[in-house]
């Protein structure tokens, strides 16, 4: 397995170079924001424009050595596959699904006995085609769902590959190749009917594969949406580099408009002041009264109340507060993750949902969300 498949993710060279500068938030050459992998503490890498980390996501798919490459009509072809995690820094890869499709038939999911593949490890999967009842060139498509996980977060991707192989004709009505030799020693001619030749066929180059054949993996963005692995049901996707715009927050209580530049990729909301220390928030949530004084309800907001972050093309919210909160009127407890859709209303105070709300609005260009407006409204 020495053949190295090319990496799927490729951040631009200039961005990768700029990421070497400590505390750099933007690329010095192209000006694009440097978006770090959610596991940057381990992989120290920026992701590419499609949201993939070149260090964490390194799956390799092989057709194992010794696999037959041709089959006769009416037969089945066994495809022994090897899935390998080639990540070099100990990041595990999770294989969450494998589907196979033959020609124009539908996708057939194969049950997998494993999910986690540690760095450098490989797993074997046996795929068998259905009965191939037509001669000619056939194609088997493979669809692989993978995920990278870090604490509670997950980035899921779907990749495809295909194998093309010829199916030879059985041809029962065709001419039979016979060999006729005569010999008076045995007193008769000797006829051999349509045998399977061994050495002549081998000499013609129809050998089995002595080494595993690497299969090229391509990103299947449509399948990611279709299978619900990335993005929203309506096709919208929130990229990691999405820009956040802050409305209704007091000056100094929210960061400047723009993408999340912190390597964690998370925005924290809560009662604590905005700051860079461990307990500091990205946006401060206070309940103020009409006269500008702080409402007693502020005490019900935790120091860190909730966090929002883009994950697998969606905007997610995680409840950090022990008091819980409401999203679109539904209450959620601590450590629960909630999908935030366009127009979602976050009510940090579970018992007084109208006192303080943060509304989420998307601005999209075609299917990509380019800006997310976070509007704070206080009615205490």
């Amino acid at each position: 397995m020495s053949l190295q498949a090319p990496s799927l993710a490729r951040p631009q060279d200039c961005c990768a170079r700029s990421a070497q500068t400590p505390e750099a938030g933007f690329c010095g050459d192209c000006g694009k924001p440097l978006i770090w992998c959610m596991a940057a503490q381990e992989c120290h890498s920026v992701i590419d424009r499609s949201g993939m980390c070149p260090v964490c996501i390194q799956p390799e798919l092989y057709l194992d050595a010794g696999a037959a490459s041709t089959v006769r009509e009416g037969g089945k072809l066994a495809l022994p596959l090897v899935i390998r995690n080639a990540a070099g820094i100990g990041r595990p890869l999770f294989v969450t699904g494998l589907w196979v499709k033959e020609d124009d038939a539908g996708w057939r999911e194969l049950p997998l006995s494993f999910e986690r593949l540690d760095s450098g490890r490989s797993a074997n999967v046996a795929v068998r085609t259905e009965v191939l009842d037509h001669a000619g060139v056939h194609q088997v498509d493979l669809r692989l769902a993978i995920a990278s996980r870090y604490h509670w977060r997950e980035e899921a991707f779907v990749l495809t590959s295909s194998i093309i192989f010829p199916v030879e004709s059985k041809d029962p009505n065709g001419p039979v190749t016979n060999i006729n030799v005569t010999a008076d020693q045995i007193g008769a001619g000797l006829t051999v009917y349509n045998p399977t030749r061994i050495e002549q066929e081998r000499a013609a180059g129809q050998d089995t594969h002595a080494r595993p054949i690497p299969l090229k993996l391509n990103r299947a963005d449509q399948d990611e949406t279709r299978l619900g692995r990335r993005g929203y049901d309506n096709g919208l996707r929130v990229p990691r580099a999405v820009s956040f715009a802050w409305r209704g927050f007091a000056e100094g209580d929210c960061p400047a408009d723009g993408p999340i530049l912190d390597p964690s990729g998370i925005l924290y909301f809560g009662r604590n002041a905005v700051g860079h220390d461990q307990e500091g928030n990205d946006a401060r949530l206070l309940v103020s009264q009409a006269d500008g004084a702080l409402s007693p309800l502020t005490g019900s907001i935790s120091r860190q109340h909730f966090s929002i972050y883009p994950e697998s093309g969606r905007l997610m919210l995680r409840v950090e507060s022990q008091f819980g909160l409401r999203v679109n009127g539904d209450a959620y407890g601590r450590t629960k993750s909630v999908l935030l859709e366009d127009g979602a209303v976050i009510s940090p105070l579970r018992k007084s949902p109208d006192a303080l709300t943060v509304t989420v609005n998307f601005e999209a260009e075609r299917e990509d969300v380019t800006r997310i407006l976070l509007t704070r409204t206080c009615r205490a």
Binding site: T182, Q185, A188
Partner: protein
Amino acid sequence: MASEPIVLSDPRMLAEFMRQSEFKAFFEKRFAVPPDYAALLFKNGELVDAFKGGHFSVGGLVDRMKSLIGGSTHISMMIADLKPFQLQTVLRATSRDKVEVTGVVTLEVQVNTDKPSNILGMMHGVDRAPGDANDLGRKALAKADVLDRIRPHFSDRVFEAAIGRVDAADIRGDTGLQDKLQADMMKEVERVVGDLGLIIRSTSIEWAQNAEEAAEQARADAERRQKEVEFQIEMAKRQAELINDATEFEIRSRTELAKLQNASEDELKHMALNSEIEFIDARENAKRRQELEELDHQVAFLEKERKATFENQLATARNETELMRIQQEQLKIDTDMSALRETHMQEMKKSGAFSELEVSALAQKQQREHISELQEIELRGERVRAEIKRLDRQQELDGQKEILIHKKGMSAEQILALDAGLSPDVAMVLAERARAEASSNEQSMALMREMVEAAQAREIRTEDQARTMSDIAMRGAVGVAAGAGGKPLPEAAATGQPQAEIQTIDCPKCSTAAPATSKFCMKCGHKLRT
């Protein structure tokens, strides 16, 4: 017409030439070679083709007539079994500690289905003269023949070489050794018969028990038996103690003790009958006493354990605050332990299994121990406190000494920066810049004061930070203009000196210094050049 199957004459055979007599017939005969056999067809001694199975039609008068016209040709056929087969042999070697080691080697071999004709190499050629006793060509190859060919290559080259490096006791379960032996054996088979139409699929070795292992097993058996006997003795002893404890009796009497002690058995019986003495069964008390004694032991053990933990904490205490905290915790635990002991004493008294005297003696003993422990702890705490103070003082002295060493040979500018609390490295950088920019000592000191104030305000700690700060301060707007145009600095251009440091420009939006070659600010993303 039904076909006759052609198979090997014996299952121990691997390959065989077909007898000519089987093909001779007046009428046509049909034969079938199963698909798990290779059929090799020879014409006039030359290999025509090889087939995986086949269907042959032989004989008949018409074909015979045709052969008379067409001329005579010699035809023969060989069949070879293509299925994998197993070979086993026993090998012996001597280990590093001179113990004979025996292993059963199992080989999985198969005729190479891609090149079955190469098996002829094992058969010493094709049989060209049937019936000739002088012909050395063989008509068949047995599976045992294959083993005979391979076996001599294993004994010294593979087996002795590997076993001689390990001790007999370490061989079993050593997968590394197994892997090495398997790999070596497969390599040998490949080398010997690889191009003779055989392929090796796998090998493995099963170890027979060697003398060292047998001795080890005997030792382990003996130890097990010894332990069993010891356990039985222990159980018997406990049983005896229990019986002893449980048969303790208390005699209560109003008679004189001396009289009782001197009384014979008959006299005691008589006294008992007359109710002068009475026996009280003390079994319950004895049992209760045992339980409480065990509990007392547990309490003492808990206390010892806690003491050890506390000593460990004391030894690792780093400062006064930590020491206080540990002592407070200790006090709390002490109080808990005292309460526990008190409860236990009450229990002992209540149980009636101990006399008043025993309980009070025990209490006094524990109190003595407790007080001495507390005194010891206090003393230890004092010692640790004194040690911490001494270390603090030492650190302070070391710091002062270091500053004095640095100050020696320093310029007035550096000492100024050092006194202001900046590090020696930063002081050196700032002093260099001040001297370089100023024309007199007064100017240099004035500039140095400004820079020290700025460095304090910006919390400059490292040499690099100091250099960056002084660069920005010295070049100011000149740097921005020069950097924006991508041109070298005027002084550098005039002198023709190469620029040693990277040119930076300040972002007009966030004032962050960025390399002059950057098109965008790396802090806020603001566009720096068009």
